[in-house]
């Protein structure tokens, strides 16, 4: 049977190094299978997060040959096997152990987002067209690969000011819910740092669900913020009426 070498990060918050493991390669095998082989036969304490192994839960994120990916959807036969395949933990989050990182920050950000609230007196009739429009955002599996690759988080570590692509997708899903009555534009502008995004589209590139994060979520949200806060006519109108912005 063919073999491959996996070069896997072993270590914790204090540091560590990569270790090479030889694994047999079966047809159709994915990187997560190789990691399981290592756990089962070579290094029983290798820490890896995973759940469904079917690309539906978004648990097994890592950086394979330098690219943020779901290891359950990364086929070994798509990677060059003459050289070691490197598997490193997501860089944007604090390391816990081996491939497991501390992603709890994401859950704290999520708490800031006001949930769905139906408009008053709304009739529960929705057209399929409206459902289709927001589907894209709602299929996010929270793998946090977009958070990992986003330079605002990865290079500049703006976690206190910036929510990251995942949560712009989530807000897009709420804002474009046909019956939602809230306005989250102020939150996006003031607390979630939407303005930090300079649309490099790295998030879109790594999304395993192929959500067009930048084009379909972030840019429309940016437009919404602009309409709300920077539209000259609206601003003028507000000055005359003495209105405050929505939060």
């Amino acid at each position: 049977m063919a073999e491959a070498t996996l070069r896997v990060f072993r270590g914790d918050s204090n540091g560590g190094q990569t270790v090479d493991y030889r694994v047999p390669v079966a047809p159709g095998m994915v990187v997560l299978d190789a990691l399981h082989y290592i756990q089962g036969h070579l290094a029983p304490d290798l820490a890896v997060r995973w759940n469904c192994k079917a690309g539906k839960c978004g648990s097994c994120s890592a950086e394979v040959n330098g690219r943020p990916r779901l290891t359950c959807k990364t086929r070994m036969d798509d990677l060059p096997q003459e050289q070691p395949i490197t598997v490193l933990p997501m860089k944007s989050f604090p390391r816990i152990k081996d491939l497991v990182t501390d992603v709890s920050w994401n859950y704290r950000v999520n708490r800031k987002i006001p949930p769905f609230e139906p408009r008053k007196g709304v009739e529960w009739k929705i057209s399929q067209l409206d459902v289709d429009r927001v589907q894209e955002f709602r299929k996010c599996i929270e793998c946090f690969l977009c958070q990992d690759v986003c330079h605002v988080l990865r290079e500049h570590d703006k976690k206190e000011q910036f929510a990251g692509p995942r949560f712009f997708v989530r807000i897009a899903g709420l804002e474009m819910h046909p019956l939602d009555g809230r306005n989250r534009a102020g939150l996006l502008k003031d607390q979630l740092g939407l303005g930090f995004c300079n649309i490099t589209k790295c998030c879109t590139e790594v999304c395993p669900e192929e959500i067009r994060i930048t084009d379909n979520a972030i840019i429309p949200l940016k437009e919404r913020v602009v309409d709300e806060f920077y539209d000259p006519l609206t601003m003028l109108f507000r000055v005359f009426r003495g209105q405050k912005h929505n939060l």
């Binding site: 949930p115 139906p118 819910h177």
Partner: protein
């Protein structure tokens, strides 16, 4: 050896953060209880996320003739009448409200022309009944519940495994758990505990289940003295992936058949004509799984030992829209374009009908203060579950469990925590670090999966089951001796050591019950007893721990009231 631990206190502690656990948590909060949710994974990764096809609820949006009575009848017939009829009734009656409520909390479902929730056909359901959104209904459901729960103020303890329920004079007092990240212990004091830990599929080699499905909740309840029921009924979903090897067992949603998918054997024959000419591909899961198994066994299987499932006669755009994740799954993992050609599929261990014995109204187990809902509980599905009845089960009985647990907590006095129980449990957990020898928990797990796959599978015989019991004894001895390398810091080998203990408990319970039931009913098929036996229609197998030993006994099925009997008799 350290025995230090932190302590948290809640009125209601919920173990498991899938659909049932989260729905129970939301209801507990509504009732004014302080609620904690403990889960082995990160929030939002529970098995519910993988549910694809939909939620069964007789809303009659597509087929106006549908109503709770028909749903009740379908559920009872699907379960071959072994279901707890009161649970089946409550489930059918309350499911539509639970779906509407989910929608009011922000879930979006596919729609009918006139803007209502769209419903699709599914195996064993008389009418189009499954509310769905493409083939990712579970994800929509879990996100909705997760966000609702978090916003309402549940405390979530993520990546935390409960290893022991603590009792105080025969009632629930709390639980001991450890943080997976650090390996440190945490003690929860609680007046009520709801078990919502899902199933046991990881004891089989070919399964659609994730690593979490190791039967912990059932084992915890059993160890604490609660009764388990119907443990012989393990559902093998007819359609899992069979090729390539790494993806073997991954679920292929029944929605493929719901949307018109056709099953064929190697010779191109539509073999369901032989096994269930009336319902064909939309027969119940037990029947379809056995049919595929038989075709393969008799030499009519595909290249990789499965059957062909074909949806490519439908327009490509339709397939991509209604089954998007199946389209991607096959394209990326198996190099198959399902809009152009057939999938190869075969049975995969999928769902546990049995579990913790509960009261229909309150979801309380036989141990006061201990509740159970969802897959971890027994009763609703009898000997075979219909597709789509699981998500509705989670909502209906999750809510009921949360409600009753909160009420119980209001009435109950504060239990006292027994340090002796905690110390004993801690010692057991840390034992593998000082075990000598070379036994690996991974090796024991692999061998357990072979035993269950080969001897306690779709078709069973007395000989196989007896052999399985003997093998399980050996595995128990090996598991106890297994040693763990490394530290307590996020150590999967150590985590598996504990999960293995749970899997061995439930595996033994399944095998004992399967051996006793000398008939074939629903998902339990005995080659040596191929027919339904009316005597066994009136009995449930009960598993209970007595004097440190696993004991099986039988309990009579409660008599169904006349009005329900009448509904059941109608066509």
């Amino acid at each position: 050896m350290t025995t230090s631990y932190e302590t948290r206190e809640h009125d209601v502690l919920i173990i498991g953060a899938g659909g049932a656990g989260l729905r129970a948590a939301i209801e507990g909060l509504e009732q004014g209880a302080s609620v904690g949710v403990v889960c082995k994974s990160l929030l939002g990764k529970a098995h519910t996320v993988m549910a694809e096809g939909g939620i069964a609820a007789a809303m009659a949006n597509v087929d106006a003739a549908d109503n709770w009575k028909t749903h009740f009848r379908d559920t009872m017939r699907g379960g071959k009448l072994l279901n707890n009829w009161r649970m089946a009734q409550l489930h059918a009656q309350e499911a539509p409200d639970r779906v509407r409520e989910l929608e009011q909390w922000g879930a979006l479902f596919d729609r009918t022309e006139d803007g209502n929730i769209l419903q699709r056909a599914f195996g064993g359901h008389t009418f189009k009944r499954l509310c769905h959104v493409g083939d990712r209904t579970g994800l929509e459901m879990i996100r909705t519940l997760q966000d609702r729960g978090v916003q309402r103020g549940i405390d979530v303890y993520m990546e935390c495994s409960v290893t022991r329920l603590l009792t105080d004079n025969g009632r629930i007092a709390g639980a001991l758990a450890y943080w997976r990240e650090t390996g440190r212990f945490i003690v929860f004091k609680a007046k009520s505990i709801v078990i919502a830990t899902g199933g046991i599929g990881k004891a089989w080699r070919i399964t659609s289940n994730s690593w979490e499905y190791t039967g912990d909740g059932m084992a915890l309840a059993y160890e604490a003295g609660a009764e388990l029921m119907d443990m012989e009924f393990v559902q093998f979903h007819p359609t899992g992936m069979v090729w390539p090897p790494g993806v073997q067992g991954i679920l292929v949603t029944e929605a493929v058949r719901g949307e018109g998918g056709i099953l064929r054997n190697k010779a191109g024959e539509r073999f369901m004509e032989k096994y269930d000419p009336k319902r064909m591909e939309l027969s119940t899961r037990d029947v379809v799984a056995r049919s595929i198994y038989t075709e393969v066994k008799e030499g009519r299987g595909t290249e990789h030992g499965g059957a062909y499932l074909d949806i490519s006669h439908k327009p490509a755009e339709y397939v991509k829209k209604k089954l998007p994740s199946m389209y991607h799954q096959f394209k990326e993992l198996a190099d198959v374009d399902i809009t152009k050609g057939p999938m190869e599929v075969g049975p995969t261990c999928h769902y546990m009908m049995g579990g913790i014995r509960v009261d229909a109204e309150t979801a309380q187990s036989t141990l006061p203060g201990l509740f159970a809902a969802g897959e971890a509980a027994a009763g609703l599905h009898g000997s075979n579950r219909l597709g789509g009845n699981s998500l509705s089960d989670l909502l209906v009985f999750g809510r009921r469990a949360g409600l009753a647990a909160a009420e119980h907590a209001k009435r109950a006095s504060a239990p006292s925590i027994d340090d002796v129980q905690i110390e004993k449990a801690e010692k057991e957990l840390l034992a593998p670090f000082s075990n000598q020898g070379t036994e690996s928990p991974y090796a024991v797990h692999r061998d357990l999966q072979e035993v269950m796959q080969n001897l306690v599978g779709i078709y069973r015989t007395q000989e196989d089951l007896e052999e399985a019991l003997a093998e399980l004894e050996k595995l128990k001895t090996r598991a106890a001796k297994a040693n763990v390398e490394g530290s307590r810091l996020f150590n999967p080998g150590w985590h598996l050591f504990y999960d293995l203990k749970s899997m061995l408990v439930v595996s033994e319970a399944v095998t004992l019950s399967a051996l006793a039931r000398t008939e074939s009913r629903g998902a339990h098929s005995r080659i040596d007893y191929p027919n339904l036996d009316p005597v066994w229609e009136k009995k449930n197998n009960i598993i209970v721990r007595e004097g440190g030993q696993m004991k099986r006994r039988e309990s009579p099925v409660a008599e169904m009231p006349a009005d329900l009997k009448q509904i059941l008799a109608q066509d």
